[in-house]
C-alpha cells in the first residue's frame, strides 16, 4: 500500500462528519435507484441490462467501424471530428481553435473525460478562462479540488464550506442557504454563458448512425453550453460510441435510473452538428474530439476489455461498501469507486497504486447494479493476479509469495495439513471459549496483528472437525 493511499484512507475513516456525508449521499442514491428499477417501475430492467451489455460488446468489438461511421455522419451534418491520442493533442486543438477565433472565454459542462486530461489546467496555463458550469463542478473549480463522485462531485462539502468558498472567491456575503447559494452561482454563470466564445462538453453517448452526441444533465448548463456560444466542442473517449439512435431507448432507460433514480434526467440533448439552415440559434461550429489516451491499450486486453463498456452512471460507487468508507479522494485518479479501481491500473499501470485491486472485499454489489453488466470483481481478480506476477518478476514481496507456496503445498498434502493444523492449535490459545484480544508471541505475525487491530480472534477449539468426526 502506498503511503498516500494509506493516509488518505485513514483520515477519511477518522472523519466522522465526512463518513456521515458519504454514507447519507450514497444511501439516498441507492434508495432512489432501487425504486426506479423495481419490478413495478421498470419490469424490463434485467432484460435491458442484457441488451445494453450486448450492444456495448458488439460496438467495442467493432469499434473502428463505428468510429468511422460516426465521423462520416458528423461530417455530413457540417461538423468536424478531431482525433486526439492524448491530453496534449486535445489542449493543442482547443488552444489552436481559440487563437484562430480570438476566443478568450470558455464555458464547460461536466465531463470526467476532460478531468482525466486536466483540460482546464492546460487552458488556464495559456491564459484562457475556462469556467465549469455544473454547480458541483463550479464549486470544486473555485476550491481547486477534484470530484468526489462521478455524479455528485461535491458530496464531501457542506453548505458552510460552500458559503465560505463563495465569500472568499466571489466576494459575496457569506450565504449558507443552499437555494441562495445556487442563485449566486446561477447569476455569475449566466453572464459567462452569454459571453462565452466556446462551449466545451463531454458526451454520454456518441451515436454512430447520426453523427450525434448525447448529453444528459439536470441543471441546464450543458444545454446552455451547447446553445449560447458560437462554437461547441464535445470531448469524448472513443469508447462512448453506440451504433444507432434507437439504441438510446435502451441506454437512456438505464442511465438516469442507475445514477440517481430518475426515469430520465431533466435534459437529454441529441446534438448533431452546427445549426442547420433555417434554425434560429445554436452553434455555428461543431467539433467532436475523439480521445484515445490509453483506451486502445485497454481494448487490446480481451479479458478486461469490458471495462470500456462503462456509461459512467456511478451506481457502482454508490453501492460499494469500500467506497462508502474511503470516499472519492482516496483513489489516486479522477475515476473512483469500483470502476476507478479497474481502469486506473489499466490506464496508469498497476504500479501507480498496486494495492488498488486489493481494496475490495469482492462482495459483488457493483456487478449487481452495473447497467451494462461489467463483471468488475472478475477484472479485479485478474488485476490481482497481474500484480502478483509483477512482484514475482521483480522479486518483491518474497515473504508473502513463499507463504502462499508453502500454504498450497500443505493444502495438497492432507496429512501434513493435519499436522500443521495441530501445531498451530497447540500455539493458539483456547481462551476458555472467549474471543481473544491479544495473540501469544509465537502467533504475532503481521496478518494476526492486522486482524487484532480491528476485532477479536476466535479461540482455538479443543478439537478440529475431523478429530471430532473420527470420534463419532
Amino acid at each position: 500500500m502506498s503511503v498516500a493511499f494509506d493516509e488518505k484512507v485513514h483520515s477519511t475513516l477518522a472523519d466522522a462528519n465526512l463518513q456521515l456525508a458519504i454514507y447519507r449521499a450514497t444511501g439516498r442514491l441507492i434508495d432512489h435507484r432501487k425504486q426506479a428499477v423495481a419490478a413495478t417501475a421498470l419490469p424490463d430492467y434485467q432484460e435491458l441490462r442484457t441488451q445494453a451489455n450486448a450492444i456495448k460488446r458488439h460496438t467495442i468489438e467493432h469499434l473502428d467501424h463505428y468510429l468511422e461511421q460516426f465521423e462520416g455522419n458528423v461530417t455530413a451534418h457540417g461538423g468536424k471530428v478531431i482525433w486526439c491520442q492524448d491530453a496534449t493533442e486535445v489542449a493543442d486543438f482547443v488552444l489552436g481553435l481559440a487563437k484562430a477565433r480570438g476566443a478568450q472565454l470558455i464555458v464547460k459542462s461536466k465531463s470526467m473525460t476532460t478531468e482525466e486530461i486536466d483540460l482546464n489546467e492546460r487552458l488556464e496555463h495559456h491564459k484562457l478562462e475556462s469556467v465549469e458550469t455544473d454547480l458541483g463542478e463550479y464549486i470544486l473549480q473555485l476550491a481547486h479540488q477534484r470530484p468526489y463522485h462521478i455524479v455528485a462531485p461535491a458530496l464531501h462539502l457542506t453548505r458552510y464550506d460552500v458559503g465560505d468558498l463563495f465569500a472568499r472567491t466571489l466576494g459575496v456575503a457569506n450565504e449558507t442557504v443552499p437555494e441562495k447559494q445556487t442563485l449566486i452561482a446561477r447569476a455569475v454563470l449566466r453572464q459567462k454563458f452569454l459571453a462565452a466564445d466556446i462551449g466545451i462538453t463531454g458526451a454520454n453517448f456518441l451515436v454512430a448512425d447520426s453523427g450525434a452526441v448525447t448529453i444528459v444533465e439536470n441543471e441546464g448548463n450543458a444545454r446552455l453550453t451547447t446553445s449560447a456560444p458560437k462554437i461547441h466542442i464535445a470531448v469524448a473517449g472513443i469508447e462512448k460510441v453506440i451504433p444507432r439512435a434507437q439504441d438510446l431507448a435502451v441506454f437512456l432507460k438505464l442511465l438516469g435510473r442507475s445514477a440517481t433514480g430518475q426515469a430520465l434526467t431533466v435534459y437529454t440533448s441529441f446534438l448533431s452538428g452546427p445549426r442547420r439552415a433555417g434554425e434560429i440559434d445554436g452553434p455555428e461550429e461543431f467539433y467532436v474530439v475523439l480521445l484515445d489516451n490509453g483506451r486502445t491499450r485497454l481494448l487490446a486486453d480481451r479479458g478486461k476489455r469490458e471495462s470500456l463498456y462503462c456509461i459512467r452512471c456511478g451506481a457502482c460507487l454508490n453501492h460499494c461498501p469500500v467506497y462508502r468508507k474511503i470516499g472519492g479522494h482516496s483513489f489516486p485518479w479522477v475515476y473512483s469507486g469500483p470502476i476507478g479501481a479497474i481502469i486506473t491500473p489499466q490506464f496508469l499501470g498497476i504500479q501507480r497504486e498496486p494495492s488498488l485491486p486489493f481494496a475490495s472485499s469482492l462482495c459483488g454489489a457493483c456487478a449487481e447494479v452495473c447497467p451494462v453488466k461489467i463483471d468488475i470483481p472478475k477484472v479485479l481478480l485478474d488485476l490481482r493476479a497481474e500484480v502478483k506476477q509483477a512482484e514475482q518478476r521483480s522479486g518483491t514481496n518474497r515473504l508473502e509469495r513463499l507463504a502462499f507456496k508453502l500454504w498450497a503445498w500443505v493444502m495438497c498434502h492432507p496429512r501434513i495439513y493435519e499436522m500443521a493444523a495441530m501445531a498451530a492449535a497447540g500455539v493458539a490459545p483456547a481462551g476458555d471459549g472467549k474471543w481473544l484480544r491479544r495473540a501469544p508471541a509465537l502467533m504475532n505475525l503481521p496478518p494476526v496483528r492486522a486482524w487484532l487491530s480491528q476485532r477479536d480472534l476466535p479461540p482455538a477449539p479443543a478439537k478440529s472437525f475431523r478429530d471430532l468426526w473420527r470420534k463419532r
Binding site: 500500500m1 484512507v9 485513514h10 475513516l13 463518513q19 461498501p321 469500500v322 468508507k325 474511503i326 494495492s355 486489493f358 481494496a359 475490495s360 472485499s361 469482492l362 462482495c363 459483488g364 454489489a365 456487478a367 449487481e368 481478480l381 490481482r384 493476479a385 502478483k388 506476477q389 508473502e400 509469495r401 502462499f404 507456496k405 500454504w407 498450497a408 503445498w409 500443505v410 493444502m411 495438497c412 492432507p414 495439513y417 493444523a421 498451530a424 492449535a425 472467549k434 474471543w435 484480544r437 496478518p447 492486522a450 486482524w451 487491530s453 480491528q454 476485532r455 477479536d456 480472534l457 476466535p458 482455538a460 477449539p461 478439537k463 478440529s464 472437525f465 475431523r466 471430532l468 468426526w469
Partner: protein, 241 residues
C-alpha cells in the same frame, strides 16, 4: 439405501468452527442422508485465488477435484467456497482440458448447504427448535452468486420459537473479503462496525448467516465492542432441538 452425500466442511470450519460441520452433518442425517467426510479434503483454494496466486490456487483446486471426484453430492456450509468451486475453478485451468472436464462434471454436484436442503432434499421445515431473537446477514457470495436470499429466511421461519428480525442493509458486505480483512484492516473494520450497528438496532440476540467467514468477522467485532450478541451458522440453528 440412504442417498450418500459428501461434506466439504471448509478449512475455516475444520479448524475454528467444528460445531458448524457437526451441525450440518446432523441436519443432513436427520433428512435421511448418509454423510461421508472424505478425509483428504483441505481447502478450495480461494485464499490464494483471491490474493492473486493463481498457480497455488490451481494446485489446491486440483487436489479438491481429486478428493471429491466420486462424490454424488458435495454439501458445503459456505457460499464463498461453493462459488470458488462452481464459478472460479474453470478460470484456473486454462488450457487443461481434462481438469476443465473434471470441473464441469463436479461443479453441478457441489451445493451450498441451505440450497441443498431446499432444492435437493426439498425440505423447508427440518423440525428445528430454538427460542431466540435472531437477525440474518446475507453473505455476499451466497447472495449474489447463487441468489441465496429467501431460502435461509424460509428455513428460519420454520424454526419453532424463533423470531427473525430484519436488519437495515442486511445485504451489505461484512467486510471480511478473505485477505482483504488483513491487508486493508482499517477499511474492513469500518465495514464490520457499520454491520454491527445494524445488528444492534434490531435488538436480536443472535446473528445468523450461511458463511462462517462472515460470522468470524462479525463475532470478532461484536466481541471487540463487548456486545452480548452471538453468531450462529444456519446449520447450527437448524440442528437445534
Amino acid at each position: 439405501m440412504a442417498q450418500r452425500v459428501s461434506i466439504f466442511v471448509t478449512c475455516i470450519v475444520d479448524q475454528l468452527f467444528p460445531q458448524v460441520g457437526l451441525a450440518m452433518a446432523g441436519v443432513l442425517e436427520r433428512l435421511g442422508y448418509a454423510v461421508d467426510f472424505p478425509e483428504d479434503q483441505t481447502c478450495c483454494g480461494q485464499p490464494a485465488f483471491n490474493t492473486g496466486y493463481r498457480r497455488e490456487a490451481c494446485q489446491v483446486a486440483r487436489h479438491f477435484l481429486k478428493v471429491f471426484r466420486d462424490s454424488e453430492y458435495v454439501v458445503v456450509p459456505s457460499g464463498s467456497c461453493t462459488s470458488m468451486i462452481a464459478h472460479h475453478f474453470h478460470d484456473l485451468f486454462g488450457g487443461d482440458a481434462e481438469a476443465l472436464r473434471d470441473t464441469e462434471a463436479l461443479a453441478p454436484r457441489v451445493w451450498e448447504f441451505s440450497k441443498f436442503v431446499l432444492e435437493v432434499a426439498g425440505v423447508e421445515d427440518v423440525g428445528a427448535r430454538l427460542e431466540d431473537v435472531v437477525t440474518y446477514h446475507d453473505s455476499c457470495h451466497a447472495l449474489r452468486e447463487f441468489g441465496i436470499r429467501d431460502g435461509p429466511r424460509r428455513l428460519l421461519a420454520n424454526v419453532r420459537g424463533l423470531e427473525l428480525r430484519e436488519m437495515d442493509a442486511a445485504e451489505e458486505c461484512c467486510g471480511f473479503g478473505g485477505t482483504f480483512s488483513v491487508k486493508l484492516p482499517e477499511i474492513s473494520g469500518g465495514m464490520v462496525r457499520t454491520k454491527i450497528d445494524s445488528i444492534v438496532r434490531t435488538g436480536a440476540k443472535t446473528v445468523v448467516s450461511v458463511d462462517s467467514s462472515c460470522l468470524m468477522q462479525i463475532q470478532g467485532a461484536l466481541a471487540r465492542a463487548a456486545l452480548p450478541v452471538r453468531t450462529m451458522h444456519l446449520a447450527e440453528v437448524l440442528a437445534s432441538r
